[in-house]
């Protein structure tokens, strides 16, 4: 009897040791992978701390001999770049469309997930096919359309379309997630005489937290980093976002690496914080299967 127990203990101990070694190995693989993944960002950081002369004369790998925050100060205070105002505009362009598209996206996903209506299957096919549509097909006519509406050089092309559900990808993810929520909840509510709007607002939406967070972060990051959109739709430098503003440091005959990298670092910070703090919800929010 005691022999058996001792034996089991030994087996358990070996298994534990094997598992420990295994996780150590995985940890090291992840660690070295992360180091490699961080290389471009290391160069970015190093450059952002060097002066223009030091960048020209030293290897990009070298940690700055005279690390200086001067570039950050320049970027933040340069009246031509106007960083702070651009940051405010960029936040606006990231937050408002994101809120609008997540909300209306959920609204649109709801009937596709829960209700029966005329033309549903084919409309859903159309929804999926707009996901396959290359953005370039509508790029040119989209510009013409906005021009005819007088929306060029305003924020309207960013804000108003966000109220249209915010794209097939988000609607699709929302629908999949809603299909995973047990139907019994809304059937019970329906028997109690709740309207569809009430079911959506009171029951489904509060249960969609993870997917809403996922889409909000995707939307925020996309909006915050958008380059092509502002480049095409806006002309007024006072309206431009940071990404385009940074690009203006890269000129035809020379690129101001030191300032550009410092600016990029500042831009990266808020996105990183948001991602880091939201990632728990994030992964739970993506469901592609189930609920057929």
């Amino acid at each position: 009897m005691s022999l058996e127990v001792a034996n089991r203990d030994r087996i358990d101990a070996t298994a534990r040791r094997v598992r420990k070694i295994q996780s150590m190995a995985i940890w090291f693989v992840l660690f070295f992978g992360a180091v490699v993944f961080m290389l471009p960002l290391y160069v970015m950081t190093a450059m952002s701390l060097k002066s223009e002369v030091e960048i020209a004369n030293t290897s990009m790998w070298a940690w700055p001999q005279h690390a200086t925050m001067a570039n950050y100060v320049t970027v933040l205070t340069d009246p031509n770049l106007n960083f702070v105002r651009k940051l405010a505009k960029t936040l606006f362009l990231a937050v408002v469309p994101t809120c609008a598209s997540v909300l209306t996206g959920a609204m649109v996903a709801y009937p596709f997930a829960r209700l029966k209506f005329r033309g549903r299957d084919r409309l859903f096919l159309i929804l999926l096919s707009t996901m396959m549509l290359p953005g370039v097909v509508t790029l040119i006519p989209g510009y013409v359309l906005y021009a005819k509406l007088g929306w060029i050089n305003t924020y309207k092309p960013f804000i108003i379309p966000a109220f249209f559900g915010g794209g097939a990808f988000g609607i699709f993810l929302l629908r999949q997630f809603m299909m995973g929520i047990p139907r019994e909840i809304d059937e019970a509510a329906k028997l109690d005489g709740a309207s569809n709007a009430a079911i959506f607002w009171r029951l489904l939406l509060p249960n969609c937290g993870p997917v809403l967070a996922t889409l909000a972060v995707f939307g925020f990051v996309g909006g915050f980093k958008d380059f092509m959109g502002p480049l095409m739709m806006l002309n007024d430098p006072d309206l431009m976002n940071l990404e385009v503003g940074l690009r203006s440091l890269q000129q035809a005959h020379k690129t101001e690496f030191h300032l550009m990298m410092a600016g990029s670092m500042i831009v990266l910070l808020p996105i990183f914080i948001i991602f880091f703090s939201c990632q728990r919800y994030f992964i739970r929010g993506i469901t592609l299967t189930g609920g057929k």
């Binding site: 040119i140 007024d236 990404e243």
Partner: protein, 793 residues
């Protein structure tokens, strides 16, 4: 009573007058120059309190953006114009002829006192459309005096000439001899450690030679009708240009320096690796602050067997848009900025040579005055900029010719890289380009677009779509509750249906546009299926096939690799290990960083000599490296003994893009992590009890359960890869030799580079069909391997 009204009216008028008029001024200025410009604006506003100037710098694609603004009816009042490209605007009626202002020829504007070639460059059909502001010859030779002294060659006095061979008997009077003497090699090496000459960018080198020799590649500038590519002088000049780089190694290769190592020819010159640098006068300011050796500038030599003295150059002037509401105020700003006050301020800032000759030669304006100690600033020879400005030649080409001009310029790359001989390249061009020219001329004369028929087709398409959606339910009977549910569903769908109008509308429009020749400004012309036929016919344009091939190649490499990598990473990140949340964030971080900045960093990581990739492959001595992988790869690619030039070689640039893409795998990893966490632990427990090892558990549980996620990544990955754009746009601009001219890059170039919206729309639809085919294929194949849990049958 009347008096009160009159007084009120007067008061209103006074308020209106006091309110300053805002003039929007668009320019391509950035960085430091913007500071000087803002100072000029401030001075102007002080002198004209009733006018406010709003500066709008345009960073990318200046002219195209400006033209798009004109099309959108949001053009600025005043804009900087380039003499070789302002025809894009005048030919579309976008600019105001300046002879409308009575003082155009007056002393204040002083057209007679300006460099005549720039003044004339801004004339179109006999009328003046812009006032030249500055002029810049691009063909100065910045030379390193120390290297001249070391080689025992006297400093150039400008009396030298060039020919396509070395003439040692002329010694320093022969430019080519000087270049060859200044090239220094170590014993037994073919590659020099010091080059005699470098040119700031490839087109500049080729065009300087062609212009200075007065060789023409087409017959007339105003309406080219014939290409002259088989002219022996063209062949000889092309070959000479290439030989300087590849055969004689007098000049560093462009791909080695600019694409290969993220350095610039300017830096190479300042480091003393290059004895002479061909570039423009705008370099002077940077040289003063960064060049350590003493240096000066010399004029580019004239051609020995000719009489022409022309040189390439840049310049700009200010024009007023015809749509302006305040022509008078706009004109005041133009006169100020192009007048002595504006010019002096900008010239003092160091980068622009004034177009008024008298200012250009006055010391202390453009030319440096002696400083407090009485010593003149370098370069001593800056006074030659006056005579050089007279030699600058501008060409006005119609913009329908720009496609052919692009082809001709692209051919420079093939020649200069040494991949093909000049004769072959030119013979190829001569085979294809004349047909393209004929086609371009025919396009210009095409009939107008049938609007009403187009509109009818558009409406028919939308109706057909509606019919398709509701066809299956036409005969279905619905109960009252079903009707109610349907109605409330549609209420929820309202936002998306509005959005659909914003998608379907442009799609239909783009479809109709694909049958037109249109710049979205002028009346579109009817091309029938011409755009599709041109794109699909390799004899007219083989770019579609090259571009599709490269796009497929990229997709075939990047999608499977990316998915495998993301999957492996997600398996690791799904373990219960300390620090996993941080790791997840770190792996995701690169895909969050600014795309522009990251591309620039990557350009440096792929650096031929300094980059980390080559450091691993070749080691620090450039020979051994990890497992001798580098030399092996070099042999494979066909450049034995040379480190790989990742972004500069047509064979390695796409693998390089794929490697870069792996850094964005964080996004895919998140999708897979979601999939992995959705797998119920009970499956694994059951399998472990049955004695399944970890591999079998992965093979039989994880993999099947995660197939929907792989499938989703595959579909979106292929769609994304077939639309790859950013890296090429920022890093390689479609090069080298069209190797990264992916479908969307090419389409963008046609749409916004040449404003051929009809053709670009046709390309977009071709791409759409390709993507659709791939997606349908994958959907069909999916039944075989994608497993949906809980799905019946």
């Amino acid at each position: 009573m009347k008096v009160v009204v009159a007084l009120a009216g007067l008061l209103l008028a006074a308020v209106a007058l006091a309110q300053p008029v805002t003039i929007r001024y668009a320019c391509s200025t950035g960085g430091d120059n913007l500071k000087s410009l803002n100072e000029v604006v401030r001075q102007f506003e002080l002198a004209h309190p009733n006018i406010h100037v709003k500066v709008e710098p345009i960073v990318d694609n200046y002219e195209n953006k400006l033209l798009a603004m004109y099309a959108a009816q949001v053009s600025p009042d005043v804009a900087t114009q380039n003499p070789s490209r302002f025809i894009m605007f005048t030919s579309r009626g976008a600019l105001l002829p300046l002879d409308k202002f009575s003082d155009l020829n007056g002393p204040e504007v002083n057209l007679k006192g300006r460099y005549p070639n720039t003044v004339n460059a801004f004339k179109y059909e006999g009328r003046q459309y812009a006032i030249p502001r500055d002029v810049a010859c691009s063909a100065y030779l910045f030379y390193n005096k120390r290297l001249f002294r070391e080689a025992g060659i006297p400093y150039p006095d400008g009396t030298w000439t060039w020919d396509t061979r070395v003439r040692p008997e002329l010694r320093e009077k022969d430019f080519v001899w000087v270049v060859s003497q200044l090239t220094k090699r170590a014993e037994g090496k073919s590659k020099p450690y010091q080059f005699g000459l470098a040119s700031a960018w490839p087109q500049l080198w080729m065009e300087t030679l062609l212009l200075s020799r007065d060789v023409r590649m087409w017959d007339r500038d105003d309406r080219p009708t014939k290409l002259l590519l088989d002219d022996p002088a063209v062949v000889e000049t092309f070959q000479f240009a290439a030989d300087c780089l590849n055969k004689n190694h007098w000049m560093p290769s462009f791909t080695d320096v600019t694409l290969g190592s993220g350095s610039t020819m300017q830096d190479e010159f300042r480091k003393g690796h290059v004895a002479m640098l061909e570039s423009g006068a705008w370099e002077v300011k940077d040289m003063r602050s960064k060049m350590k050796d003493d240096w000066d500038i010399a004029p580019f030599p004239t051609f020995a067997r000719g009489t022409g003295t022309a040189l390439p150059g840049e310049g700009n002037g200010l024009a007023i848009f015809s749509t302006t509401k305040h022509p008078k105020e706009a004109w005041e700003w133009v006169k100020w900025f192009c007048g002595p006050k504006g010019l002096t301020a900008m010239a003092r800032a160091g980068e622009s040579q004034p177009s008024i000759r008298e200012l250009s030669i006055r010391p202390g304006v453009w030319l440096p005055a002696a400083d407090a100690s009485g010593a003149a600033l370098v370069p001593a020879n800056l006074a030659i900029t006056d005579s050089m400005a007279m030699r600058v030649k501008f060409r006005q080409l119609p913009d329908w010719f720009s496609g052919i001009q692009n082809d001709l310029q692209n051919s420079y790359y093939g020649v200069l890289s040494g991949e093909k001989t000049a004769e072959n390249v030119l013979a190829d061009l001569q085979k294809d380009e004349p047909a393209k020219l004929a086609l371009a001329i025919r396009r210009v004369d095409a009939p107008p677009y049938p609007y009403s028929a187009g509109l009818a087709v558009g409406i028919a398409l939308v109706l057909a779509l509606l019919a398709w959606v509701y066809a299956p339910e036409r005969k279905k009977r619905t109960s009252r509750t079903e009707k109610q549910e349907s109605r409330s569903a549609y209420l929820f769908l309202i936002p998306w249906l509005c959005g659909l109008a914003f998608t379907v509308g442009p799609m239909v429009y783009s479809f109709l546009l694909s049958f037109a020749e249109s710049d979205i400004i002028q009346t579109p012309k009817w091309r029938g299926i011409g755009n599709y036929a041109d794109a699909l016919n390799p004899r007219v344009d083989d770019t579609l096939y090259i571009s599709l091939r490269q796009t497929f190649y990229f997709a075939a490499l990047s999608v499977p690799l990316g998915i495998a990598f993301a999957l492996a990473l997600s398996l690791l990140l799904n373990q219960k290990i300390r620090g996993v949340p941080l790791f997840r964030a770190l792996y995701y971080l690169p895909s969050l960083a600014s795309a522009v900045a990251m591309s620039l960093i990557w350009g440096r990581l792929f650096d031929k000599d300094q980059g980390v990739i080559n450091l691993i492959l070749y080691g620090s001595d450039g020979k051994s490296g990890f497992l001798h992988l580098g030399p092996l790869l070099s042999n494979l690619i066909g450049t034995p003994g040379e480190p790989l030039n990742w972004l500069g070689n047509t064979k390695t640039v796409i693998p390089a893009f794929v490697i870069m893409g792996l850094w964005g795998a964080g996004g895919g990893t998140i999708i897979f992590l979601a999939g992995l966490q959705g797998i119920s632990q009970s499956y694994y427990e059951a399998a472990t009890i049955d004695g399944a090892g970890s591999w079998r558990r992965f093979r039989n549980i994880t993999l099947p359960m995660i197939t929907p996620y792989i499938f989703f990544s595959l579909i979106t990955g292929v769609i994304g890869a077939l639309q790859v754009f950013g890296q090429s746009f920022v890093l390689t601009g479609g090069g080298p030799d069209r190797a990264t001219n992916f479908m969307v890059v090419w389409l963008y170039q046609k749409a916004f580079g040449e404003l051929r919206m009809g053709y670009a729309s046709a390309l977009a639809w071709i791409l759409f069909v390709v993507i659709l085919l791939f997606t349908l294929l994958q959907l069909a194949a999916a039944r075989k391997w994608v497993y949906y849990e809980g799905e019946l049958s």
